[in-house]
């Protein structure tokens, strides 16, 4: 349906030999943004769409985005999940303009073209005209004009979509280490506790780098340190896998190691600082291990989060070159009792747009965007842990996962 619009795009050349330096123009050039839609978001990637728990019944639909593309996810009469571009085949209007709902079929409001829940065009108003006048030519075949469909895969109740046939199956795509962490966290049927939406005033890639940047966590976020959610001196590691596109960074409590913590001296360690009410820092070990913090990315724009007892998936949507929207779906398990739910709601004070831990991530990206704007050809320096893309055990003092993101980005973008 789409020819490459490359003819109307600038050409770009990567300045260096590897992914240890990134030119600032990636964060601000409109043609990069256009190219990302075509080659990355609509390329060989799996993109989080929504949760099965959000569309439990036949006819349920939810709207979402893959990059700039508006998407409809539906559950059809057979209980199957479908994903289509939310753009009428006729003049291109959004079909579903509400965030969620239930419908027997999808009707475009503009000229009443009707699609089934799989996106097949089933009705064209006045296709035969009126009294033999007007209408469509006889050679018009509705079968040629359904909604653009995405491939769909579901894992642990999370629904993913891909525009491309070249994308490998989801589990091959994320690799065994990411699969293992999903299995570790999503041990039971999920329940949505609520949504956050956070507008970030910077290019979307700066947020992705931030989530893959295990180096900043204890340096930027005082809370991590002070309350021992994450300290670089704590156990843990960063798992990247062969391909390097995705990552898993985790931390676990280990009384032995914490002794050494006293050596640390950074702005973010303020032992004199303490909470009047530490209820929200309580951690019920519900997953059978001591992991306090596990942040996992699925390239390009998904994050799966476990911080103490707060579990969430995050989806990032670009909003132009210098903005993006971060959508949090905060989760519990269906069988949580009231007390457990209460705990999750309190721990949620740590994350989200008002989260003690996550709020800083909302401003550092802007600081980079401002720092970068004056000099598109200046470059960042991503050499913590070397220049390669490799996992590291027992430490998170590496930017390997960030380099891995750029590896994936360049492979998709052909730059």
């Amino acid at each position: 349906m789409t020819a490459p619009n490359a003819p109307r795009e600038k050409e770009f050349a990567w300045p260096g030999p590897d992914n240890s330096r990134v030119p600032f123009w990636v964060y601000s050039d409109p043609d990069i943004h256009a190219r990302e839609q075509r080659l990355l978001f609509q390329g060989p990637t799996w993109n989080f769409l929504c949760l099965e728990a959000e569309i439990p019944n036949p006819g349920d639909y939810k709207t979402t985005n893959v990059g700039d593309a508006p998407i409809i996810v539906t559950r059809d009469a057979d209980g199957a999940v479908n994903a289509m571009v939310n753009r009428c085949a006729h003049k291109g209007a959004l079909i579903c303009y509400k965030p969620r709902g239930n419908a027997g079929e999808l009707t475009c409001i503009y000229h009443n073209w009707v699609y089934d829940l799989g996106g097949n065009l089933t009705g064209v108003a006045y296709q035969r005209g009126v009294r033999g006048k007007g209408g469509m030519e006889d050679d018009f075949d509705a079968a040629d004009h359904g909604l653009q469909r995405l491939r769909v895969e579901i894992y642990c109740g999370m629904i993913f979509g891909s525009f491309s046939d070249a994308t490998p199956p989801f589990l091959d795509y994320i690799g065994p280490e990411r699969q293992a962490n999903i299995d570790r966290v999503m041990i039971k049927p999920l329940k949505v506790l609520g949504y956050h939406s956070q507008f970030l005033p910077h290019n979307w890639k700066l947020y992705v780098e931030n989530t893959k940047d295990s180096y900043h966590a204890t340096l930027l976020h005082v809370f991590h340190n002070t309350f021992g959610v994450v300290r670089l001196t704590m156990g843990g590691g960063v798992k990247i896998g062969a391909q390097g596109w995705h990552h898993l960074s985790y931390t676990e409590r280990d009384p032995e190691m914490e002794k050494t913590a006293t050596n640390e001296k950074t702005r973010s360690l303020q032992d004199q600082y303490s909470l009047e009410d530490a209820a929200m820092m309580e951690h019920r070990l519900e997953l059978g291990d001591n992991i306090t913090n596990a942040i996992q990315t699925v390239f390009p724009t998904m994050v799966i989060q476990q911080i103490l007892n707060t579990i969430a998936v995050r989806q990032l949507v670009p909003r132009g070159v210098d903005g993006c929207e971060l959508l949090w779906t905060v989760l519990g398990f269906e069988d949580d009792d009231a007390e457990m739910t209460e705990l999750r709601l309190k721990v949620n004070n740590l994350v989200g747009p008002a989260g003690y831990i996550s709020m800083e991530d909302g401003c550092v990206g802007k600081f980079v965007q401002e720092g970068a704007q004056a000099d598109p050809d200046a470059e960042t320096l991503i050499r913590m842990g070397g220049r390669a893309v490799e996992s590291i055990e027992g430490s998170r003092v590496t930017e390997a996962a960030v380099r891995g993101f750029w590896k994936g980005w360049r492979e998709c973008m052909e730059i």
Binding site: S197, F223, N349, P353
Partner: protein
């Protein structure tokens, strides 16, 4: 003519509006350390989006039970959190006193918050409703419950200062 009840109503209305005004000025003038004192000890303060509220989802952006958690919000933003300096300006509409069950007055009001960044950018940061329960302590009115319902599902950048 002006009878006693009406007079009492006026005074009650006046006292509630004074509470609202002082609360707003306290935040906007950056006297945040005084903010928890607008609440009773075992109070509830929640900031919830209209979307979650109407979907019946319990989660809040901020979810505080008890004055301790309120104080922590302030000490955290003063000592721990990093953010671009900014200020709020609250506009609070006239209050609608719904009624008075045993546990205090139930009061609804509209609000808008304009946020100003240190570089001078101003924007409508939030608007919505206060759903309050107000009670008397030692001759002063205090919040036992303040639910802040935000019209928007989205927060710009971050929310560090309470609404």
């Amino acid at each position: 003519m002006a009878n006693l009840m009406e007079n009492l109503d006026l005074i009650r209305q006046h006292r509630v509006e004074a509470l609202m005004t002082e609360y707003a000025h306290c935040i906007d003038d950056d006297r945040l350390e005084e903010w928890p004192d607008f609440f009773i000890e075992d109070s509830v303060y929640r900031v919830v989006t209209r979307e979650n509220h109407e979907l019946g989802l319990p989660m809040g952006l901020i979810y505080c039970d008890g004055k301790g958690m309120l104080k922590d919000r302030i000490s955290a933003l003063r000592t721990a959190n990093i953010y671009e300096p900014h200020t709020y300006r609250h506009m609070v509409g006239a209050v609608n006193i719904i009624g008075d069950d045993g546990e205090g007055l139930r009061v609804h009001s509209n609000f808008t918050v304009i946020r100003t960044m240190h570089d001078g950018d101003m924007s409508v940061f939030a608007c919505g409703r206060y759903l309050d329960r107000i009670t008397e302590r030692d001759g002063a009115l205090k919040f036992s419950e303040r639910f802040v319902i935000l019209d928007s599902r989205r927060v710009d950048t971050l929310m560090v200062i309470p609404i």
